[in-house]
Amino acid sequence: MTSSLLFSIATLSYLVAMVLYISYLAFRKKGIGTTATIVTVFGFLVQTAALLLRWRESYQMDIGRVPLSNLYESLVFFTWSTVMIYLIVEFKYKTKAFGAFVIPVAFLALAFINVAGISSDITPLVPALKSNWLFYHVLISFLGYAAFGVAFAISMVYLLIDMEERGSATNLYAGLAAIVVLASIGYFMASLGGRMKTAFWMGIGVLILAWFIYLIVAGARNKHQVFLFWSFCVTLAVSLLVAMGIDFIYLVSFQHLAEGESFKKHIFEGTFLSASPAISIISWLVVLAFFSLVWSKGLGLKNLLKPYIPAQNLLDDVTYRMIAIGWPLLTAGIITGAVWANSAWGTYWSWDPKETWSLITWFIYAIYLHSRYVRGWKGTQMAVISSVGFLAVIFTYLGVNLVLSGLHSYGGMN
């Protein structure tokens, strides 16, 4: 019995649980719900055993380290904590409605590990990572990320339920046109060289930020825009996962990676950045089609789900609770990282991209908490902030390693 076998069993269990939770929403049979919970608990226990076994295996290999030290292990641990927090919510609030939204995230993350070909080897630690702080830092940070992940899933449900009508099709066309125009500008500027690419990313960053701020400030009044935002988040999540999956298949079957070569150098080569313009155009057309599908069928999905989803203020409350758990954990995660950096380099804060992005995430959730406590905001805007916060979490966790460079480079995709 090896840990990787157990991990596969856990992944399969989550797949089964995902199907069960979704059918529970559709058919509302008590038996299905109970089975879903049992399968999830089983998967969770198997995954716990797998983590412990992997820890032991590292000792048998004379490396002896905590299974929280590279991208593979941190993703596994992220799904483990997400499932744990989900189960706590399920038992505490006695509702199985969130399962259909949270368990897919856990399953997709595990599936992503497999399709993205992230190495699962137990490799020895580089000297900088040999510290007891590693364990606390990573453990606490990922528990926090998991709580934010659950908050995000629930916020997405909230925003879907919150929608009354999807608004005029102009919104959709504007969204589609924005994607088409920005993508073309992006390709054009990238073809002009590195500095133009940076300029493009900065420009697009400013646009997205402006839109987020507009949504946070005026979201409650302009729900059509919020629905567009919702469609955008769903499209983004799904296309990232699918594109990375295609990348993996493409790289494995046609473009054998050199020994030790990083996956991130070839990211999206199977789709958006393909050498053949036809394939990248097709990829974008698929994204556009999916975006309009999500946008036009969202209302149908809402009507389908509406009877089974808890009341909106419960969703709002659970989101708040998840953030109230996640934010202190994120704080402690940043602090343990700072103390560790001080013992390794003599600086507790050096503004490296990962640190800065974790601080940005911290700011966003601080904004959430303050606007809720002091300004008394509730509902739509809160769900938008929570979603934007999780996008920042994802960027802190993956984007910084994939796009930017810095101290945390050992968290890369190798």
């Binding site: 630690l125 000297p127 930020l209 109230a324 704080t331 800065t356 700011f363």
Partner: protein, 508 residues
């Protein structure tokens, strides 16, 4: 409004301005706006690499862009005046908000519990009336027990209408938000102390070399200010030849030894993947007396007189002639530490205990043993890593060459010599330097206290709640009317559960 107040002579000008300032900084809206601005501008510094060389920027951006970014301070963004100003504004905002709200909280915390009247009752979120048969004493006993069962110690208050039991729990949880806010102020103050009185420096020390200065990355601000005001001379030495300002330590630090350990393959050979970098550092006072030494490694620095030396990097000293460290002992003397000698490349040494002369022919950073024959082969490598160092020796009896052998460092202590002694290769010394990160930060303890409070504060603020319960017992004919009422400032759902239990226990 200002003019009206001024004209009517209600308030002085300074007073009005102070009031406006206070009002501006005590707004949470300002806090949220500042947080949004900080979150957004922080992104800039993660996209543009910070503190790179001008050449690198010119390669990446056009000349005009470089000039624009330089003007805006984007290459060292987190230390520009406008970013520091934003952080200062946030701190001022946090301070004023905290001071503005604290008196109110303090009043709530210190206020004695008052008996409830019908007016205050209406404002309470949890209320329940219970009617019991029997006299008041029985009702009193039940109520008292119910409260005690849930850990509430009460005070009694009697009035004409009846008795009231008053109780509260978790009043100090109201401090949670203040602990959080003060912790952030402490971190900020600690960071300021660090930049005023501390420094960050580096020191590249070759093996066997001592230094009484370290080279500054940033000079302590306090010294700079005092020096420019002419109050006190800065201890920092600006030597135009060195280029980098140097900070005297007041003692010598010497690198006795630097080495890299590698993870071993199953066959017992180094894999080339480093497992540890370590240096042995010694501290000497200015008279040359040794005070202490320590083997430092990454994550385990040496601190002396407030200055900490961190293992950061290493490198090769150009054109350095190193010495080979050899240890020789008789095969029979298993307990003896043997004799250690340092021999230059090409040099030789006579070892009296074995009556042989040992000549060092060559050093190689990478050696490999043929598993079949046991013979060691050496390789010249281009990189400067000494992954599996080896040395070629020739052994003489007087003038007569006896044999040549190649030793691997990993074979140290193994009895594979043809004669009755063991020669171990201890390392190639004096060709590499250890790169030390040096820091002095007197503010770090303030920051750490802030860290601890920041870990404690938010959980108290979010999950600790201030709960109040009143039980009013009044007699009405043969019945007793009990009114249970309560409030909680957080986690109402949890409080409701306790409240319902208390009610149930009284009603039974």
């Amino acid at each position: 409004m200002i003019w009206e107040d001024l004209l009517e002579n209600k308030k002085g000008f300074v007073e009005i301005i102070a009031e406006k300032f206070w009002k501006f900084f005590s707004s949470v809206k300002l806090a949220v706006i500042l947080l949004i601005i900080l979150a957004i501008v922080s992104i800039i510094g993660t996209i543009i690499q910070q503190n790179e060389s001008p050449d690198k920027y010119l390669r990446e951006y056009s000349q005009a862009t470089v000039q624009l970014f330089e003007f805006l301070g984007f290459f060292d963004m987190y230390h520009t005046w406008w970013f520091v100003l934003l952080v200062f504004l946030l701190t001022a905002n946090l301070t004023v908000c905290t001071l503005d709200r604290f008196p109110h909280t303090w009043k709530i915390i210190t206020a004695p519990l008052k008996p409830i009247d019908d007016n205050t009752l209406k404002a309470l979120p949890f209320r329940k009336e219970i009617i019991l048969q029997g006299d008041m004493d029985k009702a009193m006993e039940r109520s008292a027990n119910a409260l005690k069962n849930h850990g509430y110690s009460y005070i009694e208050s009697k009035d004409a209408a009846g008795v009231q039991l008053l109780t509260q729990k978790g009043v100090y949880n109201r401090f949670g938000v203040y602990i959080t806010h003060v912790s952030i102020l402490l971190i900020f103050i600690g960071a300021l102390i660090g930049s005023f009185f501390g420094f960050k420096a580096f020191l590249n020390l070759p093996e066997g070399v001592a230094s009484k200065v370290v080279y500054l990355r940033n000079e302590p601000m306090w010294d700079q200010i005092m020096d420019s005001l002419g109050i006190a001379k800065s201890p920092v030495i600006h030597d135009p030849q060195e280029g980098v300002p140097a900070m005297p330590l007041g003692y010598y630090v010497r690198c006795d030894n630097f080495d890299v350990d590698y993870y071993m393959s199953p066959a017992g050979m180094p894999t080339g993947m480093p497992s540890e970098y370590h240096s042995t550092l010694s501290i000497f006072n200015l008279d040359g007396q040794k005070i202490l030494d320590k083997r430092i490694r990454v994550n385990d620095p040496l601190t002396y007189q407030g200055v900490t030396f961190y293992q950061a990097s290493y490198g090769t000293v150009p054109d350095a002639r190193g010495k080979v460290i050899l240890n020789i002992r008789k095969k029979s003397d298993t307990q003896s530490p043997g004799e250690t000698v340092y021999v230059e490349l090409g040099g030789s040494v006579f070892v009296p205990s074995i009556d042989r002369t040992v000549k060092v022919l060559e050093f190689a950073p990478y050696g490999m043993r043929n598993p079949a024959t046991g013979e060691v082969q050496v390789f010249k490598t281009d990189n400067e890593e000494y992954i599996n160092p080896a040395v070629e020796l020739e052994i003489y009896n007087g003038k007569k060459a006896l044999y040549q052998t190649t030793l691997l460092k990993v074979d140290s202590g193994r009895p594979n010599m043809p004669e009755d002694y063991i020669i171990s290769f201890g390392g190639y010394w004096g060709t590499r330097f250890t790169g030390l990160q040096v820091a002095k930060d007197p503010g770090v303890w303030v920051v750490y206290i802030g860290f601890i409070m920041l870990c404690v504060g938010p959980p108290i603020a979010f999950f600790g709640s201030h709960k109040k319960l009143w039980v009013r017992i009044q007699s009405r004919g043969s019945e007793t009317v009990i009114l249970v009422a309560g409030s909680a400032n957080r986690n109402r759902i949890g409080f409701e559960r306790v409240f319902n239990k208390v009610v149930a226990e009284i009603s039974v």
